[in-house]
Symmetry: C2
Subunit: 405 residues, 2 copies
């Protein structure tokens, strides 16, 4: 890979070893697919039409789904073609008119989400939650080390980064309360996660083995699984989280293709006991992605994705082991990423240990527990890139608005 | 309402007080929307085009979604128009060429499912499950009478009636087993339910009050929420059912419009304690729908929907109380319908009391517990109609195929 001719891109977090895809619009124009280089967006539809790419129509769509449905051979050849355009100086005249500053476009939700599944794949997160909620029992439940525990979330409320998050209302009942009460959540929280987007689906009745992960998964997004802990605690037995989560899940507007993460694969921390053969523990690998949780402009936590117990390929293999089909646009998330240290925890529930140990006094002058109206949370992600530096994944932002009466 | 001129329809379960919608195809033709009268399907696209209906294009679609998205005013006027066509003898020459015998068409999945939510609204079912799984504890969990407990299921594996159901594989671990094992489910079950289809959605941040149910819900379907009890029992703590359910959910190909159920509304059995005001207990009503569970041609159970504790309007109000949006194509189901009597239970888990008390020896010569390969299950539904007789809702059929290696 040679150097890009695009000014400001070489050596940045959005160099030619990154090239995330997104959907953008400009005033009076239909949303369509673009790719990011440096601080610019390349408008793929006109360039691919001019170059007579077979699949140029997929870039005229208002989501990445049509492009993703083309499958991994097309993903690879499009990436090679884009890389050529942006590194070959002789392409400059063709390409430059279609490069737009980020500031001139509006980014959209990049994916039409089919099904949304949320896993629970961090041992440290699951153990922390167990210790906070069930202090007298084993931190991990008996199934946790045998399968990647997960559940379906609400696909219709997956929103793009920047969408305001309205504080949800619902039923809460504390252990000391006689009866439940209705009102705005008082324990609104984040969950810093990574999301995986299925590009090429699999038919009903067919399993996706761990080894076929890259044939199906197109790329990754940053993901904040907003959670109302008080609503969740009252509702979740026995069928799992529902309204405590379904009001909003934010994802980044940039989808980083799996191909950009080639240098980020790393060994898992280790699985003991060895999972069943369909989870192929000998093949499973993790991702060395650094996350920053930013509250009101201050970094309050740095969850390391490399500490995750279950690999994303094991999640997809488990999701389909019963013959469930996967579809273009399916989104599955890792669950909250938490490391071993206090400042590596991916939720305020953990950072404040259930609200009992306020955090961040040194940053804010006062200790924090759960989200307050007006709070802005940004999740930032970086990974090693193929050029030896780092690449940035899409960031996820959301500001809390007051509950509506 | 006068009598229909369509032969064989008057006085049948598919008289003009029923008129369910579906999507059909014929060899070499694109799937499109039809309405059922007697044993015939009326092809709505050409008739509505000939009559110059504004919305005739919605009937050319391969799902009901475009029609449903038009909202309740259009639903009502289309139903009035169809009723006129089928009862006014002078319309016969226009309509008759577009009436096709059911045997000449192939029915399709009628709805492009957006999000799928499954509730747990039968007190008898929830109590039975509690007694089977937690014999030493209270049958109902503390939240059960305060809110309609529910969770998200997999929308991508909702299939049309008649689709074979392949026995799923997965992890199971009995209480006496040292470690989980992988293999085909040995406790495959049905859940006889009713499904509600959202036609007109609601925006993010807005609640749907109990009183607005009919502004949003287009109609009802028969629904079988196939369940692998052994997979479910091992996986479901703490985040709820996942692979034990996600391999298949069957719905009827006919969607009965809510307007056909005017005579079926009835009082709920009674809610005590009174739920919170947003669940408007004083307004909430139930549906007097009879269900038959048919195994291998024999009726093994008759669950009465009128015994359900929570009303469908309360389910939708609860689903959106946190500001979650609803979309055209959202499907929410009642949960298993079980009455007070043994022969009114809507799952084999309950009919066989956890597999310990085989049922149906008088019908089959041998007692039955869970589903065997080759078993065919049909769920049939009827309700009081506006003409004083009964109407049939769409039935749901599925045959069990052996697990795939």
């Amino acid at each position: 890979m040679t150097t890009t001719w695009v000014e400001g891109a070489a050596g940045s977090l959005f160099d030619v070893d990154n090239l995330p895809y997104g959907v953008f619009s400009r005033p009076g124009e239909e949303p369509r697919v673009g790719v990011r280089i440096g601080e610019l967006v390349l408008d793929l539809a006109p360039v691919s039409a001019a170059e007579m790419l077979d699949v140029h129509h997929v870039f005229e769509e208002p989501s990445l789904n049509a492009f993703m449905a083309e499958g991994p051979r097309v993903w690879r050849s499009v990436r090679r073609w884009i890389t050529g355009l942006l590194t070959d100086e002789t392409e400059r005249d063709l390409v430059e008119p279609h490069l737009m500053p980020l500031a001139d476009v509006t980014l959209q939700l990049p994916v039409e989400v089919a099904d949304y599944v949320d896993f629970y794949a961090s041992e440290h997160h699951a153990s922390n939650v167990g210790r906070i909620f069930r202090p007298d029992a084993e931190a991990l439940l008996p199934n946790w080390k045998h399968l990647p525990v997960g559940y379906h979330g609400r696909a219709g409320t997956v929103v793009g980064s920047g969408t305001p998050v309205v504080r949800p209302c619902g039923q809460r009942k504390g252990p000391a309360d006689q009866a439940p009460a209705y009102g705005p959540s008082t324990r609104l929280d984040i969950e810093a996660e990574l999301g995986f987007v299925v590009g090429a689906g699999s038919p009903l009745g067919e399993r996706v083995p761990v080894s076929a992960f890259a044939d199906h998964v197109f790329g990754v997004v940053g993901l904040n699984d907003w959670s109302a802990r008080d609503i969740q605690a009252w509702e979740y037995v026995p069928l799992g989280p529902f309204l405590g989560k379904s009001f909003a899940t934010s994802i980044s507007q940039w989808v980083t293709p799996l191909e950009a993460l080639g240098a980020a694969w790393t060994d898992l921390p280790g699985q003991d006991p060895l999972p069943l053969p369909y989870l192929a523990p000998e093949e499973a690998r993790g991702l060395d992605i650094d996350i920053e949780v930013v509250l009101g402009g201050r970094v309050v936590s740095r969850p390391p994705y490399r500490t995750m117990y279950w690999s994303p390929a094991q999640m997809l293999a488990h999701l389909t082991v019963n013959g469930a089909s996967a579809r273009t646009g399916d989104l599955f998330a890792s669950g909250t990423v938490s490391g071993t240290e206090r400042d590596q925890r991916g939720s305020f529930l953990e950072l404040s240990w259930g609200g009992r140990e306020p955090f961040g006094e040194e940053l804010f002058g006062t200790g924090r527990t759960f989200l307050e109206d007006g709070d802005e949370v940004v999740l930032r992600y970086t990974a090693p890139g193929a050029l030896g530096g780092r690449i940035a994944l899409g960031e996820v932002t959301g500001r809390i608005e007051p509950a509506r009466p």
